[in-house]
């Protein structure tokens, strides 16, 4: 994000904020849709994230990536909405069991990897969505989710293994 756009937004410049919105909105909507699995929630999450960004832009620390700061706000908002709906989805997914039933997806034929990912535990689902939607690096995902980079690395590794396993099962069935 260009520093002068941020400065202009701090000054209340609507056009500058619109530029930021145009640059970030499409992928923010995709990310929110994927995380919340619900268009209405996605709309609320994206809207609230941009409001927070506008109102708190003065507290943005330029030494951190603007992308990471923005997506941390967005992902937190998505999780907050999910938690409101289902109190049993913990915010700190690190507390979840890591190696039990990692996904509930059946062994039926995999036509679409989106469905497979959406049936994974949030532990793997959210880092994987961030990687595949926006191409975030492990470091950036760690910043967004406020996790250790090695933790992210391990979750992406396990998540991708689940995907591979599912694909392999499908291929075997098709033979």
């Amino acid at each position: 994000m260009h520093e002068n756009i941020i400065t202009e937004i701090k000054n209340g410049n609507r056009d500058a904020f619109r530029s930021l919105y145009d640059e970030y909105a499409s992928y923010a909507i995709r990310t929110a849709k994927a995380i919340t699995r619900n268009d209405e929630y996605a709309k609320d999450a994206v809207q609230e994230a941009f409001i927070r960004v506008y109102r708190n832009i003065s507290s943005y620390e330029p030494a951190l990536s603007f992308n990471a700061w923005f997506y941390r706000i967005l992902v937190n908002e998505c999780i907050r909405l999910l938690n409101n709906e289902k109190k049993n989805i913990p915010v700190d997914t690190a507390q979840q069991k890591q190696d039990t039933q990692l996904m509930e997806h059946s062994k039926e034929s995999v036509k679409d990897l989106y469905e497979v990912i959406q049936n994974m535990s949030d532990l793997y689902r959210i880092p994987i969505l961030l990687k595949y939607i926006k191409g975030f690096s492990e470091r950036e995902i760690a910043q967004i989710l406020e996790l250790n980079q090695n933790t992210v690395k391990s979750r992406l590794f396990n998540g991708r293994n689940l995907l591979k396993k599912q694909l392999h099962l499908t291929e075997m069935e098709e033979i």
């Binding site: 909507i29 995709r30 620390e61 030494a63 990897l113």
Partner: protein
């Protein structure tokens, strides 16, 4: 990225498409109404939040000051100025993207020249000879850099007169000093910003220079470290929004 990654990415993008940017436009329309109401859009500026006590309150404070000097009761003065403001209130602050309701308590600065609401669960105000310091209630471990917000008044120099001196001081202390800007939030005045490094414990400072409306300035120096930007940094920001000069 291997074939599976590409396929996963493609599938996700297919499922999350915003057909004809409908959501995008809907969200913008809502944001526009919320953040840029018609009135403020006309003049292209956000309404500036005055950080100074409204005239009626200032007048009341002046009356109190007059009576208190006649009766020579400094303690009574402090009590009475405090009475003008609610002693406790709840504010909503955004900490790491999440709203947090916080109870804040009214505190007066040196010589009752300003008031500020402090999150007393976490911070305390220490009045000094030349300045006041808000710092963590419990001392931080040695591995953490200083976390504090110092408030001092320079009675004989306006913000324009001291800004360049403070810029030089900051440049001597921090390796990266950004351009000074005029801000309206969390307080109206100059904002200077410095940081040394990009590690979790790199020291960060924000310096605000505020007109005291009497020919002088208030200088507010926040100090924390990079990892605490959205913790202590955000809490200082919220407290500073409650800073009021008693004219």
């Amino acid at each position: 990225m291997d074939q599976m990654d590409k396929r996963a990415s493609k599938d996700i993008l297919k499922h999350t498409e915003d057909a004809q940017d409908k959501l995008k436009e809907d969200i913008w329309n809502d944001l526009d109404k919320e953040l840029f109401p018609e009135k403020s859009r006309k003049d292209k500026h956000l309404k500036k939040k005055s950080k100074f006590v409204p005239i009626t309150i200032a007048a009341a404070a002046a009356v109190i000051l007059l009576f208190s000097t006649q009766t020579n009761t400094g303690i009574a003065l402090i009590k009475q100025i405090k009475d003008i403001f609610v002693s406790e209130k709840q504010i909503t602050q955004s900490i790491e993207g999440m709203d947090e309701e916080t109870e804040v308590v009214l505190q007066e600065g040196k010589d009752s020249e300003y008031v500020i609401y402090i999150d007393e669960e976490r911070y305390k105000l220490i009045q000094g000879e030349t300045s006041d310091i808000i710092t963590t209630k419990e001392p931080l471990e040695e591995k953490y850099p200083e976390v504090s917000m110092e408030i001092k008044q320079i009675t004989d120099k306006s913000p324009d007169e001291i800004v360049s001196t403070l810029e030089k001081e900051l440049e001597a202390e921090y390796t990266n000093v950004t351009d000074t800007e005029r801000v309206t939030e969390p307080i109206e005045g100059f904002k200077l910003h410095g940081i040394s490094g990009s590690e979790w414990d790199s020291p960060v400072t924000n310096v605000y220079i505020v007109d005291n409306k009497n020919g002088g300035s208030f200088v507010i120096i926040e100090k924390y470290f990079l990892e605490a930007a959205e913790g202590h940094g955000a809490r200082f920001y919220a407290m500073l929004q409650e800073f009021e000069i008693v004219e």
